[in-house]
Every structure is written in structure tokens, then in C-alpha cells.
Symmetry: C2
Subunit: 226 residues, 2 copies
């Protein structure tokens, strides 16, 4: 892990992100003050569950995986966060302990902000508080979605749902490139890699073609029906 300072493209990523974009520019700038940037190799651990953490993290590039460990060492993904997402914010209001492990799922650059300062700001500035509230709602809903999908859908259905979430409305056929290794996708969907693989081949009969990371859909309706 190496630590650096914010570059100007970093600032762009930050200011364009879901969270900072809804803040008045000066407020956003104030938060950026004192940000620390660090790089991590794939598989590096950023923090561990129950670690005391006094920072909030922002993905500048790459991918983080948040997961919990079972007694037997098995891992369960809670979330997979791409560029522009924030993590570690819950901890700020929850005893300052991480609720999960955070690991680089690929080469990763993160910015971190002192949570004390951010919390202070949130207490003084309702814009910041609003932004935090919206962030937490959004993340909460994502976790809920995940839980509901786990309980309601089979593996092929979850994969279909994932693919459809990448299909712009109206198109009946399209293709896209997976934003990460199948490995990671499997974890995100709560599946073993083998199960993901089998799910893809089940979906072949519904017009899904997989070649490397490229996914191609021939018939959107068929997928929705699945």
C-alpha cells in the first residue's frame, strides 16, 4: 500500500460522485481537504471486520469487496463497490467498528476522510447530513435487494436479473462487458463460481451468449420471463 495526495482527476471522480455531487461545491471541497489517497493491490485487505476505523473511504478506481467471515473461514459478500462509491460510513455511527472486511477485488485506489471531521460537518451542515442520509438509504436498499434476491431467486434467475440490470430500457438485444472477474460476480450474487458458470450455461437456451467477459443478449423478454 502506498499513500499519495489527490490528483486533479481524483477530484473530478470525487466531485462527480453520487455523494459529493449533491453538495454545494464549497462544502464538497471542504470535505476533500485533508483526504489521503492510498493504492492497494488485488487481494489486499483495506480493513478487517471489527477493526476500529476512524475514516470513511471512497473508491477512486478499481473495486472493493465487503464481506463477512464465517467461523469456518468461508466468506460472504455484503457488497461489491465500484469507482465512485463510499464505504465504511456505517462504522462512523456504530461504535467505530467495521461491520465487514474490505478487500481490493482488483487493483484499487481509495481516498479516505477522517470520520470525526465528517461527522462534525454532518452535525453542523444539514446538506452533509442529507447526503449521508441518502447514501445510507441507497445502500440499505441495495442490501435489501440482495437479501430478497437470495431468498426468492434461483442462481440462473439472479444472473438474469443482474444482466437485465445492465440492459438499457427498450432494447431487446444488446451486449456488454462484465465490469469484473466472474469470480467476483459469483461472490456478489452469493454463488460459488461453479454455480455461476452453470447458471450462464442454463441461460444459453434463453439467448445469452458468454465469451470471456463479454455478455450478449438476444432476447430480453426471454430473460425477463426466466
Amino acid at each position: 500500500m502506498k499513500t499519495l495526495r489527490l490528483t486533479s482527476t481524483d477530484r473530478t471522480v470525487l466531485l462527480d460522485s453520487h455523494f459529493f455531487a449533491r453538495l454545494p461545491r464549497p462544502t464538497a471541497e471542504a470535505i476533500l481537504e485533508g483526504a489521503i489517497v492510498s493504492t492497494h493491490e488485488e487481494h489486499d485487505i483495506v480493513f478487517r471486520q471489527d477493526d476500529p476505523i476512524d475514516h470513511v473511504f471512497f473508491v477512486l478506481s478499481g473495486l472493493v469487496r465487503l464481506y463477512r467471515l464465517g467461523k469456518d473461514g468461508r466468506e460472504a459478500d455484503i457488497a461489491v463497490l465500484p469507482k465512485g462509491e463510499i464505504f465504511g460510513a456505517n462504522a462512523m455511527f456504530l461504535e467505530h467498528r467495521a461491520t465487514a472486511n474490505a478487500q481490493a477485488a482488483e487493483a484499487l485506489i481509495v481516498a479516505r476522510f477522517e470520520s470525526g471531521k465528517l461527522r462534525q460537518l454532518a452535525a453542523e451542515n444539514t446538506d452533509v447530513a442529507q447526503a449521508l442520509i441518502e447514501l445510507l438509504c441507497r445502500h440499505g436498499k441495495m442490501t435489501e435487494d440482495c437479501l430478497a434476491e437470495d431468498r426468492l431467486l434461483t442462481a440462473p434467475q439472479r444472473v438474469a436479473s443482474y444482466i437485465l440490470s445492465h440492459c438499457p430500457d427498450g432494447l431487446s438485444s444488446f451486449s456488454f462487458r462484465l465490469p469484473f472477474q466472474k469470480n467476483v460476480l459469483a461472490g456478489k450474487l452469493g454463488l460459488a463460481p461453479e454455480a455461476l458458470s452453470r447458471a450462464f450455461s442454463t441461460l444459453r437456451q434463453s439467448g445469452v451468449t458468454v465469451k470471456g467477459r463479454m455478455i450478449e443478449i438476444r432476447d430480453r423478454q426471454a430473460l425477463e420471463r426466466f
Copy 2:
């Protein structure tokens, strides 16, 4: 469903709750102004997924079940909330649409507050915003816990974990009464009722006795090991 006004015991439940207790009394009182109370029979639907809702709900007594519906009509519980809990708050910041169905899991009394007013208050008053943030963090963590347990634990392990969460630290043997029907517990744990039943009988060999709603533990360590 019948609608009423707040009784004085209702006020007590509200003011003692996790959310309101951390607010200055006058602020809390201000929110209570204009609360509407309604009663619901077991199985009544309070609101449906995707309904536009402009209220935040508070459980005065009884139990609500939040769940999503699958295409095939199957139900997946997202949360089961007892007296003192708030629900429908996410919607306030998420297009004003409910993210799940809310159903009375037993005779239920709820108070509702206009979300517009609450949101306004949160924007003006950082105490309210802080309380909301903490609420959302707490709920977020609960959902995360649920997701992780689903992915990491078998049915008997989930039940053991549930029982242990009711065991005060230090005691090695103790007993308690389930706060709701096994039916509901099964849903909360993401199990079919039959699976819950079987899980209980598996745990018998680890010193768990079940008689009606009474649960008795002989050996805490044995349960933790499970």
C-alpha cells in the same frame, strides 16, 4: 383498520424508543404533533411494495413484517419489527415508494407521521438528521447481518444464533419466551416453518428444549460451538 389519536401510554412508548430518546424533548414533541394512530388486525397490509407513501410509521404495539414478493407469489422477509421500531423511513428519501410490503404479523398499532414534515425537520434540525442517520445505520447493519447469516449459516446455526442473541452474557443456562409465532420466526430467519421445526429438533441434542413458545437452554457453550 381504525384510526385514533395518541394516548398517553403511546407517548411513553414513542419517547422511550431508540429514535426519539436521543432527541431533545421539545423536538420529539414537535414530531409527535399530528401523529395519526391506526390499528390493524393480524395479516392486514399496512402498505404495499411500490405504493407511494408519504408517512413514516412507528410500531406502538404488535409486530410488522416487511417482505418482498417474488414473481411466483413467494414471500421473502426483509425485517420483522417489534414495538418501538420505525419503518417506511427509507421511502422518504427514495422516490417516496415503499421498498417492501408491510403486514401486521399480529394485532398491530402504529403511529404515522407525515414524511414531508419529518424531512423538513431533518433539514432544519441536525438532531433529527443525526437520529435518522443512526436509525438507518442500525437498520442497514441488521440487514447486512441477515444477509451474512443466510449465506454463512445452516438452519440450525441460524436458530442457535437467534437463541444466543437472547441470552444475556455470562449465563450458561437460561430460558425465554419467543416474542412471536414460530411461523414468523421462520420467515425472519429465511426458513420454511418445517425447516425451523427440524432445526429445533436438531438443537435438542445440544441442550435446547422447546415447549410451545418457551425456549430453554441448558448449555450455552454447546450452542455457540454448533
